[in-house]
């Protein structure tokens, strides 16, 4: 609820390990609220959220380390370099710093990541932000419009990264309007309209039609 407005209502949804669930819907349909609830930043006024057998809200302190979130904003310190940002977040998640170098290579960021983040282009920012969201091998990955600002090569790296996370067994929820990306990655498609789940489909990719 946002004041008198009901942002989500009657949402009954399960996200499964090893599958990419795409959440679609027009602006104002409740996608961002759903993302806030799934990322344990907002508590639903009614209903429950479970992560495996755990009540997610009650266990939120211990579950936070299992979440990887890429949102509209990059969530990186502009005055630190990309590398310093990744090292900072790696320390927060108690990840070996060797993984930072590995992710720098994986997202082709080593050529620019010594510069302060405020000097980055949108595409560079998004690549480092994606590395930040994935560096700790999260079990639940929430990606909100991850292809924004990415060129063809970077989009390909994104697709490969999400496929690798899916193969690892992560639960991936992808909020996007990018149809080519949806067609390449979606195992399931959920459509939100005015805060309600209107439709859940196994995608054409999952049903083997592509």
């Amino acid at each position: 609820m946002f004041g008198p407005t009901r942002a989500l209502s009657g949402v009954d949804l399960s996200l499964e390990a090893g599958l990419v669930t795409v959440v679609e819907g027009p602006n104002g349909s409740g996608k961002s609220t759903l993302l806030d609830i799934l990322s344990l930043l907002s508590r639903p006024t009614r209903g429950s959220l479970h992560f495996g057998k755990f009540d997610a809200w009650r266990s939120r302190a211990s579950l936070r380390g299992s979440l990887g979130v890429l949102a509209h904003a990059a969530m990186l310190y502009p005055d630190l370099s990309g590398r310093e940002n990744l090292e900072l977040f790696a320390r927060m998640y108690r990840v070996d710093l060797k993984r930072v170098a590995e992710f720098g290579e994986r997202f082709d960021a080593t050529g620019f990541w010594q510069r302060p983040v405020r000097t980055y282009s949108r595409g560079q920012l998004q690549r480092v932000a994606l590395a930040r969201a994935l560096v700790h091998s999260p079990r639940l990955i929430l990606l909100d419009e991850p292809s924004t600002g990415l060129d063809v090569r970077a989009t390909e790296q994104l697709v490969v990264a999400v496929q690798a996370e899916r193969a690892r067994g992560a639960i991936v929820a992808l909020i996007t309007h990018d149809q080519p990306l949806i067609e390449r990655l979606a195992d399931r498609r959920v459509r939100l309209v005015r805060g309600r789940v209107e439709q859940i489909d196994a995608s054409s990719r999952a049903s083997g039609q592509t």
């Binding site: 979130v69 949102a71 969530m75 310190y77 502009p78 630190l80 320390r91 927060m92 998640y93």
Partner: protein, 225 residues
Amino acid sequence: MSTWSAAMLVFRKDLRIELRSGEILITSGFFALLVAVMTSLSFYLDDVTSRRVAPGVLWISIAFSGVLAMGRSFQRERDHDVMRALLLSPLPRPGIFFGKMLGILAFLTLVEALLIPVVAILYRLDLWATWHTLSLLVLLGTIGFAAAGTLFAAMGVRTRTKELVLSVVLFPLVSPALLAGVVSCREVLGGASLGEVLDWVRVLVAFDLVLLVFGALLFGPLTSE
């Protein structure tokens, strides 16, 4: 991760950014000195007036430059919505609170280290015998001020009220610490010993403890949901 480790991680990050940009120290330091100089020009200062006016000038400078420092410190979390990343992380909320508070406290202490001698020169105060008691009182007042300011500045990041919360709620809340600071510093500059202002020290310590405990407990609920 323990609360202490989380606090150190956040504190070191703020320190690194500040060493690189100098933004908080330069802006709040300059502002504090400007207030001190402007007020010194506004009064006809004999020795008695100096001792009476200087504590007020000192604390007004600390309060205003402190609000500036708090706002700038949390602007770093507001840019690119990094506060969200901190809240998404497994860092214990009290650790984030103490880390941000330590950063603000360190920056304000450095500003005060510059401000106190300048106020002493402008107001012709002899601090030789009183500097240690005065420093203790200023430090105690600053701890509570930084704790309350950290809590409300963090609220401003998530609620989009920004400096409004900081200015409207912070000053009434910290007024006991500011008043205790002003009165105790006035007494010390008037010749009182530490023993004679011990009641004020107790007030400041109690105030600090309450704000540190409540700040650590409330930081999570007030920045989430």
